[in-house]
């Protein structure tokens, strides 16, 4: 059972979670292109700028968050995710070294997965918009 204060925390911090997930996806996407040898992958790729801006917003939101006791574990996962993803982003400055970026990125995403499992309302994949979404149990 989720209490009202925790429910409010979930609503307020869903965007932060989604933004961190988006930043991780953006970085991973660039890494796929780089690892596959695509010419599109470069440190000046506009998506990196977008990722940095989004990360700033998520980081600010995280600082403002006030987790309840029930939400504390979720918040800790989210905070650790932000630290690791921030490191991955800073590693992307200058040159796209896949290995140096991927290690903290994967660590950050693992924390996001843990956060998704720690409280309801945080989905790793937008299942309701995927093929299986039509089968949602009422």
């Amino acid at each position: 059972m989720i209490d009202d204060a925790t429910a409010a925390y979930i609503v307020e911090n869903r965007k932060c979670f989604e933004d961190l997930k988006q930043v991780a996806s953006q970085l991973a996407g660039l890494l796929v292109l780089a690892a596959a040898g695509s010419k599109e992958a470069a440190p000046e790729h506009p998506m990196l700028g977008a990722a940095r801006e989004l990360f700033r917003e998520a980081d600010d939101a995280l600082r403002r968050a006030r987790p309840t006791e029930r939400a504390r574990r979720h918040y800790d996962y989210l905070a650790r995710a932000a630290v690791s993803i921030g490191i991955a982003l800073s590693e992307a400055d200058g040159v796209l070294n896949v290995d140096r970026i991927l290690i903290p990125l994967r660590a950050g995403y693992t924390e996001l997965e843990r956060a998704a499992d720690a409280l309801p309302g945080f989905e790793k994949v937008a299942y309701e918009r995927a093929c299986c979404g039509g089968g949602r149990v009422q």
Partner: protein, 292 residues
């Protein structure tokens, strides 16, 4: 003569899936079973698959509790029913990047994966858009993208640009851009290895969920009806259906939708102890049946 044995392997299912999600326009017309399957292609010294299913560790609980997906079993269990281990699989063709088709990459440590370059590059482009465009990211798991990075670093990711013939003997990849997804593809197996094959099968991924997509509701008066979900266009889906049906000489039952439960009415099959169906489409010369 059959060059390849072909099996459709069920690995999970949704018992009651709304028809409207599968066949455009079938609103308020009840539900049907939606099996989740991948395809095994064995012969010519090759062991290949079309798609690999989803990663239960990452998604299983949510899919089971929230979306009613039942009976997930690992590739080791599923493939073991026909005497195959995941480590034996050498080539895997990913029809599109949705998590339930490419989510289990890491269970196949020795395979090379083929995917359309456009499928990856357009997802990456989509990720650069603002949040209000997030519907376009449907079905994509960021963890799968990271696994794809690993594949690329290991030289096990082949980005295909459009059609590619004879990727393995008698096996062709066909692009179906801007349809179910940006860079969907379907796989043709010319099972007599002839250029103008008389015994082709097409593995269509999610370009069709059921036979209604390929022949409409009245087989005597066939028409194409698009699927219930397209990131690209329904026009593209219909034109892809035409290309697939033409490539099998008009015999729609040689187009194999992996989510089609009624394959069992067309081809021999059996149910495993785990309650999953194995459907046998063809047997290579000298190969023993796995369903009789």
């Amino acid at each position: 003569m059959s060059a390849y044995s072909l099996w459709v392997m069920e690995y999970a299912a949704v018992p009651n899936y709304p028809q409207s999600g599968l066949i455009y326009g079938m609103h308020n017309q009840g539900t049907r079973k939606l099996p989740y399957c991948y395809v095994v292609i064995k012969g010519q010294g090759q062991l290949a698959m079309v798609d690999v299913g989803y990663n239960h560790k990452a998604h299983g609980e949510v899919l089971a509790n929230t979306y009613g997906v039942r009976g997930w079993h690992s590739p080791r269990e599923v493939l073991g029913e026909i005497g195959i281990q995941p480590e034996d699989v050498s080539n895997i063709f990913i029809t599109h990047a949705h998590f339930d088709h490419m989510g289990n990459i890491e269970d196949f440590p020795n395979a090379t994966f083929y995917i359309q370059e456009r499928e990856l590059s357009k997802w990456v482009w989509t990720m650069s858009l603002e949040r209000r465009f997030r519907w376009l990211m449907l079905g994509i798991d960021p963890a799968d993208i990271m696994r794809a990075v690993d594949l690329a670093r290991q030289g096990r990711l082949v980005c295909v640009d459009g059609d590619r013939e004879n990727v393995l003997p008698g096996i062709d990849l066909h692009a179906a851009f801007d349809t179910h997804t940006w860079g969907s593809m379907y796989v043709t197996v010319r099972n007599d290895l002839a250029a103008n094959s008389q015994s082709s099968f097409v593995f269509c991924g999610d370009l069709a969920y059921g036979y209604e997509n390929l022949r409409g509701h009245d087989p005597k008066d066939p028409e194409y009806i698009p699927i219930g979900l397209a990131t690209g266009s329904q026009f593209g889906v219909i034109m892809a259906a035409e290309a697939m049906v033409k490539s099998v000489g008009g015999d729609v039952h040689r187009v194999i939708p992996p989510h089609e439960e009624r394959l069992k009415d067309l081809y021999p099959s059996r149910i495993t102890k785990a309650g999953l169906r194995i459907t046998e489409l063809a047997l290579a010369d000298g190969e023993k049946s796995q369903v009789v």
